[in-house]
């Protein structure tokens, strides 16, 4: 397919030069991430880039009760992050699966309005609503709760998720569903038993991205959650960033940062191949 006969350039020499130039340009990024890894196990992470000796001392936050008075235990924080990301993922994907199906299959009053509305919201800069959302959470008694921020996060991502799922449902031929309905299955069974298995790649892709986005969330969490028992990893790392004295302890910060980043990195390697398939920009197709 691609490669020798890709049509843009065919010179092997040109390929080599291009690859080399781009690799050179990418070196700073690679170095940054490499440093994160090396410094977190380097016995003397302050004085040398390449490890002079190995240590797990920087990872002590994993077994100490706390790294510093006033900081919650890392496992409580990690638990919160996991809970938050998983809840965002499950809620977002299930809602998008339910609504995406109806939007894809049914012609009803208000469908066009709904589709247009969600498409408009897709481009709308949601973060500008943060002050108003504060008052809504306050009125719903959900301020300072992870549940409240989860709902906000899901709501703001739903327009995108709905469109992605609708797209996947659109790809399944009608006949499949028709056969099930003729055989006497009801709507819910058809949706659950016949359609969902067919869009499994779509579900996987959206789940991965929803989890990643929940896992990395910072601004809404730092704004709406004050109590330390509700801290997530993003909040934990951000607090370390703000501490002058801890900031000298490169080993510790890089280890905490890497610990927070690892799940994201694993999921990213799984998710990247779906990236081009999601209608990120609906306008590009």
């Amino acid at each position: 397919m691609r490669g020798e006969d890709d049509g843009i350039t065919q010179h092997r020499g040109a390929h080599r030069v291009l690859t080399a130039a781009l690799a050179l340009l990418s070196i700073p990024i690679v170095l940054m991430y490499l440093w994160l890894l090396l410094a977190s196990v380097n016995r003397d992470s302050l004085s040398s880039f390449l490890p002079t000796g190995w240590t797990l001392h920087h990872w002590r936050f994993l077994w100490l009760a706390t790294i510093k008075p006033g900081y919650p235990n890392i496992w409580v924080v990690t638990g919160n992050s996991l809970l938050f990301a998983i809840a965002v993922m499950v809620l977002e994907v299930s809602m998008a699966l339910l609504a995406g199906y109806v939007l894809s299959r049914w012609q009803f009053r208000g469908r066009l309005l709904l589709l247009q509305g969600t498409l408009l919201l897709h481009a709308f800069p949601a973060i500008t609503l943060i002050i108003a959302v504060f008052f809504i959470l306050r009125a719903l008694r959900l301020l300072h709760t992870l549940a409240g921020v989860m709902l906000v996060k899901v709501a703001l991502e739903l327009p995108f998720a709905l469109w992605v799922m609708k797209g996947f449902f659109d790809g399944i031929p009608w006949q499949v569903e028709m056969a099930a309905l003729v055989d006497g299955a009801n709507r819910f069974t058809t949706w659950y038993r016949i359609l969902l298995p067919q869009i499994r790649p779509g579900i996987t892709a959206l789940s991965l991205f929803a989890f990643l986005s929940g896992w990395g969330e910072y601004v809404f969490l730092v704004t709406f959650i004050l109590d330390k028992s509700g801290w997530t990893l993003s909040r934990y790392v951000a607090s370390i960033l703000g501490e002058g004295e801890v900031f000298v302890d490169y080993g510790l910060i890089t280890a905490v940062g890497l610990f927070y980043m690892l799940p994201a990195l694993v999921l990213f390697t799984l998710a990247h191949k779906y990236l081009v398939r999601l209608p990120f920009g609906v306008g590009t197709r």
């Binding site: 994160l36 009803f108 481009a123 800069p125 002050i131 809504i136 899901v154 739903l158 590009t284």
Partner: protein
């Protein structure tokens, strides 16, 4: 039982309404209501006492007299346009074109490297930069400089804007990269081969064939990212928090500070309301320009 798509517009049957309801409810409560609520709060003097006193357009008049605002406006303009031009469009398009010209394997690896910042939790990504630019002699940059005999620098304090644009731009470039790559890959290869047979050089192919075909994706990225850049402040918040003395304060961050640092919710909402208005207008324009109507009937078929 109807088993073909219903063409007549009817009300949705109750059980299916249940499918829609959770999404609808969330979108209304956390999206539609906040849009109007922002407008309402902007007309009040709501502060830490949480008293809803309506004061008319006072907040907007105060906006006009705020001496920090011209600074903030200039900052926002610089931030949005340099990031957009240099990174979202420039670097994004550049990387997409260059990697598209490469064989599959190195192209995928290079794209992965450039996508990595986007999928790193933002706080860790900022942490990486803070370590890299650490003003002490231990920072990676200063260590490299020391190797060449140069004195340590504190780039974040000396050139905060360059740093912010670079840090934020690198994550933004990846969105452009993804969209432009998808668009380039959808160009029929035969078109390029035919051009080559006719004697077109690589430069010709890029300039005369590929770039014109990328017009829509480029417009899409431009409008979409202008809006999201206008509203985004996470990177600035984590890097400089608007300092030193408002030097890097952008519009949304200023509103955020008013609301959540000084509890001046009314004034903060007046500021974000301006963006809500801009957001709504641009979204509508965007709708007209990109003519999404074809998506409403037969949306793209995913081969997933």
């Amino acid at each position: 039982m109807r088993i073909t798509p219903v063409t007549k517009r009817i009300w949705l049957p109750a059980p299916l309404l249940l499918f829609l309801l959770p999404s609808l409810l969330l979108i209304v409560v956390f999206f539609v209501v906040p849009i109007s609520l922002t407008g309402i709060i902007s007309l009040t003097s709501l502060d830490y006492r949480f008293r809803w006193d309506f004061v008319g357009l006072t907040n907007f008049l105060m906006l006009l007299q705020d001496t920090i605002i011209p600074r903030v406006l200039l900052n926002t303009g610089v931030y949005v346009f340099t990031t957009l031009l240099l990174f979202h469009l420039g670097l994004g398009l550049g990387l997409a074109l260059l990697t598209a010209a490469l064989p599959e394997r190195p192209a995928v690896i290079l794209r992965l490297i450039w996508l990595l910042p986007r999928f790193t939790p933002s706080v860790v990504y900022i942490l990486l930069w803070r370590l890299l630019l650490d003003p002490t002699t231990y920072g990676l940059l200063n260590r490299v400089r020391a190797a060449f005999g140069a004195a340590p620098v504190d780039l974040l304090t000396e050139h905060p804007w360059s740093v912010i644009v670079l840090v934020n731009g690198l994550t933004g470039a990846s969105l452009g990269l993804v969209i432009f790559t998808a668009a380039i890959e959808s160009i029929p290869r035969d078109l390029l081969r035919a051009a080559r047979v006719d004697g077109a050089t690589t430069l010709h192919i890029v300039w005369r064939i590929i770039l014109p075909l990328l017009r829509w994706p480029v417009m899409f990225v431009t409008t979409y990212q202008t809006l999201s850049l206008l509203a985004s402040f996470e990177a600035v918040l984590l890097l400089t928090n608007g300092g030193p003395f408002y030097a890097t304060e952008v519009w949304t961050l200023y509103a955020y500070h008013h609301a959540f640092a000084f509890s001046a919710f009314g004034y903060g909402c007046a500021m974000t309301f301006v963006l809500v208005l801009i957001g709504s207008i641009v979204s509508l324009l965007y709708w007209r320009v990109f003519r999404f109507t074809h998506l409403l009937q037969t949306p793209p078929i995913e081969n997933g």
